[in-house]
Protein backbone atom coordinates (compact mmCIF):
# COMPACT_ATOMS: atom_id res chain seq x y z
CA UNK A 1 0.00 0.00 0.00
CA UNK A 2 1.28 3.48 -0.81
CA UNK A 3 0.73 6.44 1.45
CA UNK A 4 0.45 10.11 0.49
CA UNK A 5 2.66 11.97 2.96
CA UNK A 6 0.61 15.16 2.69
CA UNK A 7 -2.55 13.22 3.45
CA UNK A 8 -0.93 11.51 6.45
CA UNK A 9 0.01 14.92 7.79
CA UNK A 10 -3.51 16.27 7.42
CA UNK A 11 -5.13 13.20 8.94
CA UNK A 12 -3.07 13.30 12.12
CA UNK A 13 -2.32 10.22 14.24
CA UNK A 14 -5.91 8.91 14.37
CA UNK A 15 -6.50 8.97 10.63
CA UNK A 16 -3.08 7.48 9.97
CA UNK A 17 -3.74 4.65 12.39
CA UNK A 18 -7.05 4.00 10.64
CA UNK A 19 -5.30 3.77 7.29
CA UNK A 20 -2.60 1.39 8.42
CA UNK A 21 -5.23 -0.67 10.28
CA UNK A 22 -6.81 -1.41 6.90
CA UNK A 23 -3.48 -2.80 5.70
CA UNK A 24 -3.17 -4.95 8.82
CA UNK A 25 -6.73 -6.18 8.40
CA UNK A 26 -5.90 -7.40 4.90
CA UNK A 27 -2.58 -8.91 5.97
CA UNK A 28 -3.46 -10.79 9.16
CA UNK A 29 -6.28 -13.29 9.62
CA UNK A 30 -5.65 -13.39 13.36
CA UNK A 31 -5.77 -9.68 14.15
CA UNK A 32 -8.35 -7.93 16.29
CA UNK A 33 -8.63 -4.22 16.97
CA UNK A 34 -10.32 -3.26 20.20
CA UNK A 35 -11.34 0.21 21.31
CA UNK A 36 -12.87 1.85 24.36
CA UNK A 37 -15.53 3.81 22.50
CA UNK A 38 -13.06 5.57 20.21
CA UNK A 39 -14.06 4.00 16.89
CA UNK A 40 -14.19 7.32 15.10
CA UNK A 41 -11.40 9.04 17.02
CA UNK A 42 -9.13 6.06 16.33
CA UNK A 43 -9.83 6.39 12.60
CA UNK A 44 -11.49 2.98 12.63
CA UNK A 45 -14.84 3.70 10.96
CA UNK A 46 -13.82 2.02 7.72
CA UNK A 47 -12.00 -0.82 9.48
CA UNK A 48 -15.07 -1.60 11.56
CA UNK A 49 -17.27 -1.71 8.47
CA UNK A 50 -14.94 -3.72 6.23
CA UNK A 51 -13.74 -6.07 8.97
CA UNK A 52 -16.66 -6.43 11.39
CA UNK A 53 -15.30 -9.76 12.67
CA UNK A 54 -11.99 -8.13 13.56
CA UNK A 55 -13.32 -5.02 15.29
CA UNK A 56 -14.55 -4.83 18.88
CA UNK A 57 -15.83 -1.77 20.73
CA UNK A 58 -15.99 -2.50 24.46
CA UNK A 59 -17.49 0.88 25.34
CA UNK A 60 -16.11 3.39 27.80
CA UNK A 61 -14.41 0.67 29.83
CA UNK A 62 -10.63 0.82 29.52
CA UNK A 63 -9.99 -1.91 32.08
CA UNK A 64 -12.26 -4.22 30.13
CA UNK A 65 -10.49 -3.13 26.95
CA UNK A 66 -7.18 -4.56 28.12
CA UNK A 67 -8.76 -7.68 29.64
CA UNK A 68 -10.65 -8.57 26.47
CA UNK A 69 -7.71 -7.75 24.19
CA UNK A 70 -5.42 -9.84 26.39
CA UNK A 71 -7.82 -12.79 26.28
CA UNK A 72 -7.89 -12.55 22.50
CA UNK A 73 -4.08 -12.38 22.39
CA UNK A 74 -3.75 -15.38 24.72
CA UNK A 75 -5.35 -17.53 22.00
CA UNK A 76 -2.46 -16.84 19.64
CA UNK A 77 -3.86 -13.70 18.06
CA UNK A 78 -2.59 -10.16 17.57
CA UNK A 79 -4.57 -7.62 19.58
CA UNK A 80 -4.47 -3.86 19.12
CA UNK A 81 -6.26 -1.75 21.74
CA UNK A 82 -6.92 1.97 21.37
CA UNK A 83 -7.76 4.70 23.82
CA UNK A 84 -6.45 8.07 24.97
CA UNK A 85 -2.86 7.88 26.22
CA UNK A 86 -3.91 9.36 29.56
CA UNK A 87 -6.41 6.53 30.05
CA UNK A 88 -4.10 3.85 28.61
CA UNK A 89 -1.43 4.65 31.15
CA UNK A 90 -3.54 5.16 34.27
CA UNK A 91 -7.17 4.08 34.11
CA UNK A 92 -6.31 0.51 33.15
CA UNK A 93 -2.85 0.36 34.68
CA UNK A 94 -3.51 -2.76 36.76
CA UNK A 95 -4.70 -4.64 33.66
CA UNK A 96 -1.68 -3.40 31.70
CA UNK A 97 0.58 -4.44 34.58
CA UNK A 98 -0.91 -7.95 34.79
CA UNK A 99 -1.78 -8.82 31.20
CA UNK A 100 0.81 -6.96 29.16
CA UNK A 101 3.83 -6.58 31.44
CA UNK A 102 3.61 -9.66 33.67
CA UNK A 103 1.87 -12.14 31.35
CA UNK A 104 3.77 -10.74 28.35
CA UNK A 105 0.74 -11.09 26.10
CA UNK A 106 0.66 -9.95 22.50
CA UNK A 107 -1.29 -6.72 23.04
CA UNK A 108 -0.41 -3.50 21.24
CA UNK A 109 -1.79 -0.62 23.22
CA UNK A 110 -2.19 2.57 21.16
CA UNK A 111 -2.30 5.77 23.19
CA UNK A 112 -3.78 8.68 21.26
CA UNK A 113 -3.36 12.35 22.16
CA UNK A 114 -0.20 11.75 24.16
CA UNK A 115 1.33 14.98 25.37
CA UNK A 116 -0.59 18.24 25.10
CA UNK A 117 -2.78 17.95 22.00
CA UNK A 118 -6.01 17.61 23.99
CA UNK A 119 -4.94 20.31 26.41
CA UNK A 120 -8.14 22.22 25.85
CA UNK A 121 -9.85 19.45 27.87
CA UNK A 122 -7.55 20.08 30.80
CA UNK A 123 -5.06 18.01 32.82
CA UNK A 124 -7.35 14.93 32.87
CA UNK A 125 -6.70 14.46 29.15
CA UNK A 126 -3.10 15.66 28.94
CA UNK A 127 -0.78 12.68 28.91
CA UNK A 128 2.59 13.82 30.17
CA UNK A 129 3.54 10.85 32.33
CA UNK A 130 2.64 7.83 30.17
CA UNK A 131 6.21 7.16 29.08
CA UNK A 132 7.34 7.24 32.70
CA UNK A 133 4.65 4.74 33.67
CA UNK A 134 5.31 2.32 30.82
CA UNK A 135 9.08 2.57 31.37
CA UNK A 136 8.51 1.23 34.87
CA UNK A 137 6.85 -1.94 33.55
CA UNK A 138 8.99 -4.85 32.27
CA UNK A 139 8.58 -6.47 28.84
CA UNK A 140 6.69 -3.67 27.10
CA UNK A 141 8.31 -2.21 23.97
CA UNK A 142 7.66 1.55 23.84
CA UNK A 143 7.36 3.30 20.49
CA UNK A 144 7.01 7.03 19.93
CA UNK A 145 6.82 7.90 16.21
CA UNK A 146 7.66 11.36 14.91
CA UNK A 147 5.13 11.84 12.11
CA UNK A 148 2.54 10.14 9.94
CA UNK A 149 4.94 8.05 7.90
CA UNK A 150 6.68 6.83 11.01
CA UNK A 151 3.34 5.96 12.62
CA UNK A 152 2.68 3.69 9.64
CA UNK A 153 6.03 1.98 10.13
CA UNK A 154 5.66 1.76 13.91
CA UNK A 155 2.22 0.15 13.76
CA UNK A 156 3.30 -2.37 11.13
CA UNK A 157 6.47 -3.19 13.09
CA UNK A 158 4.49 -3.58 16.31
CA UNK A 159 2.22 -6.12 14.63
CA UNK A 160 5.28 -8.20 13.72
CA UNK A 161 6.59 -8.36 17.30
CA UNK A 162 5.30 -11.23 19.42
CA UNK A 163 4.87 -9.34 22.68
CA UNK A 164 3.35 -6.28 24.30
CA UNK A 165 3.91 -2.85 22.77
CA UNK A 166 2.85 0.63 23.79
CA UNK A 167 2.57 3.05 20.86
CA UNK A 168 2.63 6.65 22.05
CA UNK A 169 1.01 8.93 19.49
CA UNK A 170 1.69 12.64 19.88
CA UNK A 171 0.40 15.39 17.64
CA UNK A 172 -2.89 16.33 16.03
CA UNK A 173 -4.31 17.17 12.63
CA UNK A 174 -1.76 18.72 10.27
CA UNK A 175 1.14 17.02 11.99
CA UNK A 176 4.40 18.35 10.51
CA UNK A 177 6.23 16.02 8.13
CA UNK A 178 9.62 14.62 9.10
CA UNK A 179 9.82 11.70 6.70
CA UNK A 180 8.74 11.26 3.11
CA UNK A 181 8.20 7.75 1.78
CA UNK A 182 11.87 6.86 2.26
CA UNK A 183 12.14 5.85 5.88
CA UNK A 184 14.55 3.42 7.45
CA UNK A 185 12.64 2.08 10.43
CA UNK A 186 13.98 -0.59 12.74
CA UNK A 187 12.61 -0.92 16.27
CA UNK A 188 15.39 -0.10 18.73
CA UNK A 189 17.51 1.82 16.20
CA UNK A 190 17.37 5.61 16.48
CA UNK A 191 17.52 7.60 13.24
CA UNK A 192 20.16 10.29 12.88
CA UNK A 193 18.52 13.10 10.92
CA UNK A 194 21.07 15.90 11.26
CA UNK A 195 24.80 15.89 11.92
CA UNK A 196 26.91 18.33 13.95
CA UNK A 197 29.78 18.07 16.41
CA UNK A 198 28.99 20.34 19.35
CA UNK A 199 25.61 19.23 20.67
CA UNK A 200 23.47 16.13 20.27
CA UNK A 201 19.70 16.35 20.55
CA UNK A 202 17.73 13.21 21.30
CA UNK A 203 14.11 13.88 20.49
CA UNK A 204 10.95 11.86 20.15
CA UNK A 205 7.41 12.16 18.80
CA UNK A 206 6.38 15.59 17.57
CA UNK A 207 9.51 17.11 19.06
CA UNK A 208 11.66 15.58 16.32
CA UNK A 209 10.36 18.14 13.84
CA UNK A 210 10.82 20.97 16.33
CA UNK A 211 14.32 19.78 17.17
CA UNK A 212 15.28 19.80 13.51
CA UNK A 213 14.05 23.40 13.30
CA UNK A 214 16.12 24.23 16.38
CA UNK A 215 19.18 22.57 14.86
CA UNK A 216 18.87 24.75 11.75
CA UNK A 217 18.77 27.90 13.90
CA UNK A 218 21.75 26.80 16.00
CA UNK A 219 23.73 25.79 12.92
CA UNK A 220 23.36 29.33 11.59
CA UNK A 221 24.83 30.55 14.88
CA UNK A 222 27.87 28.34 14.33
CA UNK A 223 26.84 25.60 16.73
CA UNK A 224 26.93 22.13 15.20
CA UNK A 225 24.01 19.96 16.24
CA UNK A 226 23.22 16.32 15.67
CA UNK A 227 19.57 15.30 15.91
CA UNK A 228 18.39 11.78 16.63
CA UNK A 229 14.82 10.60 16.24
CA UNK A 230 14.43 8.25 19.19
CA UNK A 231 11.33 6.51 17.90
CA UNK A 232 11.91 3.61 20.27
CA UNK A 233 12.08 4.51 23.93
CA UNK A 234 12.55 0.87 24.93
CA UNK A 235 14.76 -0.79 23.90
CA UNK A 236 16.77 2.43 23.89
CA UNK A 237 19.49 2.65 21.25
CA UNK A 238 22.55 2.98 23.47
CA UNK A 239 24.86 2.35 20.50
CA UNK A 240 23.74 5.55 18.79
CA UNK A 241 24.40 7.44 21.99
CA UNK A 242 27.91 5.98 22.23
CA UNK A 243 28.57 7.10 18.63
CA UNK A 244 28.01 10.71 19.64
CA UNK A 245 29.88 10.80 22.96
CA UNK A 246 32.26 13.47 21.64
CA UNK A 247 29.48 16.05 21.74
CA UNK A 248 29.92 18.64 24.48
CA UNK A 249 26.28 18.64 25.51
CA UNK A 250 23.40 16.20 25.26
CA UNK A 251 19.86 17.59 24.98
CA UNK A 252 16.62 15.66 25.19
CA UNK A 253 13.38 17.11 23.82
CA UNK A 254 10.03 15.49 24.47
CA UNK A 255 6.33 16.33 24.64
CA UNK A 256 6.23 14.65 28.04
CA UNK A 257 7.09 15.49 31.61
CA UNK A 258 10.79 15.80 32.31
CA UNK A 259 10.33 13.20 35.06
CA UNK A 260 10.69 9.68 33.74
CA UNK A 261 10.62 10.25 30.00
CA UNK A 262 13.24 10.38 27.27
CA UNK A 263 15.58 12.56 29.32
CA UNK A 264 15.72 10.06 32.13
CA UNK A 265 16.06 7.24 29.58
CA UNK A 266 19.23 8.87 28.26
CA UNK A 267 20.56 9.48 31.79
CA UNK A 268 19.93 5.84 32.71
CA UNK A 269 21.72 4.67 29.57
CA UNK A 270 24.71 6.90 30.36
CA UNK A 271 24.82 5.51 33.87
CA UNK A 272 24.66 1.94 32.63
CA UNK A 273 27.74 2.38 30.45
CA UNK A 274 29.57 4.42 33.10
CA UNK A 275 29.77 7.67 31.14
CA UNK A 276 29.22 11.19 32.42
CA UNK A 277 27.71 13.88 30.24
CA UNK A 278 25.83 17.08 30.88
CA UNK A 279 22.21 16.49 29.82
CA UNK A 280 19.75 19.33 29.29
CA UNK A 281 16.21 17.96 29.59
CA UNK A 282 13.61 19.95 27.69
CA UNK A 283 10.04 18.92 28.35
CA UNK A 284 7.11 19.70 30.61
CA UNK A 285 7.79 20.51 34.26
CA UNK A 286 6.06 18.49 36.98
CA UNK A 287 3.06 20.76 37.45
CA UNK A 288 -0.63 21.07 36.61
CA UNK A 289 -1.23 23.19 33.59
CA UNK A 290 -4.30 25.26 32.90
CA UNK A 291 -6.48 24.25 29.94
CA UNK A 292 -5.43 25.72 26.63
CA UNK A 293 -5.23 24.76 23.00
CA UNK A 294 -2.33 22.71 21.71
CA UNK A 295 -0.25 25.47 20.15
CA UNK A 296 -0.62 27.72 23.21
CA UNK A 297 0.60 24.94 25.51
CA UNK A 298 3.58 24.17 23.29
CA UNK A 299 4.49 27.86 23.37
CA UNK A 300 4.00 27.98 27.13
CA UNK A 301 6.45 25.14 27.66
CA UNK A 302 8.92 26.37 25.01
CA UNK A 303 8.38 23.25 22.90
CA UNK A 304 8.69 24.97 19.52
CA UNK A 305 11.79 25.15 17.36
CA UNK A 306 12.96 28.72 18.00
CA UNK A 307 12.40 28.49 21.75
CA UNK A 308 14.12 25.13 21.92
CA UNK A 309 17.07 26.73 20.11
CA UNK A 310 17.11 29.60 22.62
CA UNK A 311 17.05 27.24 25.60
CA UNK A 312 19.88 25.17 24.18
CA UNK A 313 21.89 28.23 23.17
CA UNK A 314 21.68 29.69 26.65
CA UNK A 315 22.75 26.45 28.31
CA UNK A 316 25.58 25.92 25.85
CA UNK A 317 26.97 29.43 26.26
CA UNK A 318 26.85 29.18 30.06
CA UNK A 319 28.51 25.80 29.93
CA UNK A 320 31.33 27.12 27.73
CA UNK A 321 31.83 30.10 30.07
CA UNK A 322 32.23 27.72 33.00
CA UNK A 323 34.80 25.68 31.11
CA UNK A 324 36.78 28.77 30.06
Amino acid sequence: MTYNVKSLSRLGPSGVFGKVAMELGEQYDNIGIFTADLRHFSGLDRFGTVFPDKFFNVGIAEQNLIGVAAGFASEGNIAFATTYASFASMRCLDQVFMNMAYMNLNVKLVGFAAGLSTGILGPTHMSINDMAIFRSLPNITILSPADGMEIVEAVKAAAEINGPVYIRLTGALDNPVVYDNDIDYVIGKANKLHTGDDITIFSTGTMVYESLKASEILSKEGIGVSVYDVHTIRPFDTESMIDTMDAKLFVTVEEHGIAGGLGDTVLCALNEIGEKKQVLKIGIPCEWSHSADYSALKEKYDLVGDRIANTIHEQYVNMRKEIL
Partner: protein, 81 residues
Protein backbone atom coordinates in the same frame (compact mmCIF):
# COMPACT_ATOMS: atom_id res chain seq x y z
CA UNK B 1 -3.36 14.06 -20.82
CA UNK B 2 -6.18 16.61 -20.52
CA UNK B 3 -7.06 18.11 -17.13
CA UNK B 4 -10.38 16.26 -17.20
CA UNK B 5 -8.68 12.91 -17.79
CA UNK B 6 -6.12 13.69 -15.07
CA UNK B 7 -8.88 14.65 -12.64
CA UNK B 8 -10.94 11.55 -13.33
CA UNK B 9 -7.87 9.34 -13.04
CA UNK B 10 -7.34 10.51 -9.47
CA UNK B 11 -10.76 9.12 -8.57
CA UNK B 12 -10.43 5.88 -10.51
CA UNK B 13 -6.94 5.11 -9.23
CA UNK B 14 -7.51 6.12 -5.62
CA UNK B 15 -10.90 4.49 -5.16
CA UNK B 16 -10.38 1.65 -7.64
CA UNK B 17 -13.59 2.45 -9.53
CA UNK B 18 -14.57 2.84 -13.18
CA UNK B 19 -14.84 6.18 -14.99
CA UNK B 20 -18.62 5.75 -15.14
CA UNK B 21 -18.73 5.40 -11.37
CA UNK B 22 -16.35 8.31 -10.86
CA UNK B 23 -18.33 10.94 -12.77
CA UNK B 24 -21.41 10.44 -10.61
CA UNK B 25 -19.60 9.96 -7.33
CA UNK B 26 -20.56 11.81 -4.17
CA UNK B 27 -18.91 11.88 -0.73
CA UNK B 28 -19.66 8.67 1.21
CA UNK B 29 -21.27 6.94 -1.81
CA UNK B 30 -18.58 4.31 -1.40
CA UNK B 31 -16.78 3.20 1.73
CA UNK B 32 -13.43 4.38 0.40
CA UNK B 33 -14.60 8.00 0.18
CA UNK B 34 -14.99 8.52 3.91
CA UNK B 35 -13.32 11.22 6.00
CA UNK B 36 -9.96 9.49 5.73
CA UNK B 37 -10.34 8.84 1.99
CA UNK B 38 -11.33 12.47 1.53
CA UNK B 39 -7.92 13.69 2.70
CA UNK B 40 -6.25 11.22 0.35
CA UNK B 41 -8.40 12.50 -2.52
CA UNK B 42 -7.63 16.15 -1.80
CA UNK B 43 -3.91 15.47 -1.45
CA UNK B 44 -3.80 13.51 -4.72
CA UNK B 45 -5.67 16.25 -6.58
CA UNK B 46 -3.31 18.86 -5.14
CA UNK B 47 -0.33 16.82 -6.30
CA UNK B 48 -1.85 16.25 -9.74
CA UNK B 49 -2.51 19.96 -10.37
CA UNK B 50 0.26 21.42 -8.20
CA UNK B 51 -2.09 23.47 -6.05
CA UNK B 52 -2.81 23.90 -2.34
CA UNK B 53 -6.51 23.92 -1.54
CA UNK B 54 -8.01 26.08 1.19
CA UNK B 55 -9.92 24.63 4.12
CA UNK B 56 -13.29 25.86 2.86
CA UNK B 57 -12.75 24.23 -0.52
CA UNK B 58 -11.67 20.97 1.12
CA UNK B 59 -14.86 20.94 3.20
CA UNK B 60 -17.10 21.86 0.27
CA UNK B 61 -15.57 19.28 -2.09
CA UNK B 62 -18.37 16.75 -1.72
CA UNK B 63 -18.73 15.27 -5.18
CA UNK B 64 -16.94 14.74 -8.48
CA UNK B 65 -19.05 17.49 -10.03
CA UNK B 66 -18.52 19.95 -7.18
CA UNK B 67 -14.79 19.35 -7.42
CA UNK B 68 -14.79 20.42 -11.07
CA UNK B 69 -16.56 23.65 -10.10
CA UNK B 70 -14.14 24.36 -7.24
CA UNK B 71 -11.04 23.72 -9.32
CA UNK B 72 -12.37 25.85 -12.15
CA UNK B 73 -13.64 28.81 -10.14
CA UNK B 74 -11.06 28.99 -7.37
CA UNK B 75 -7.88 27.64 -8.97
CA UNK B 76 -8.29 28.51 -12.67
CA UNK B 77 -8.09 24.90 -13.77
CA UNK B 78 -10.30 24.24 -16.76
CA UNK B 79 -11.81 20.78 -16.71
CA UNK B 80 -13.95 21.03 -19.83
CA UNK B 81 -14.01 17.98 -22.11
Amino acid sequence: MSNKVKYTKVFTDLFNISEDQAVNLKYQDIIEWDSVGHMDLISEIEDAFDIAMGTEDIVNFNSYETGIKILSENYGISLSD
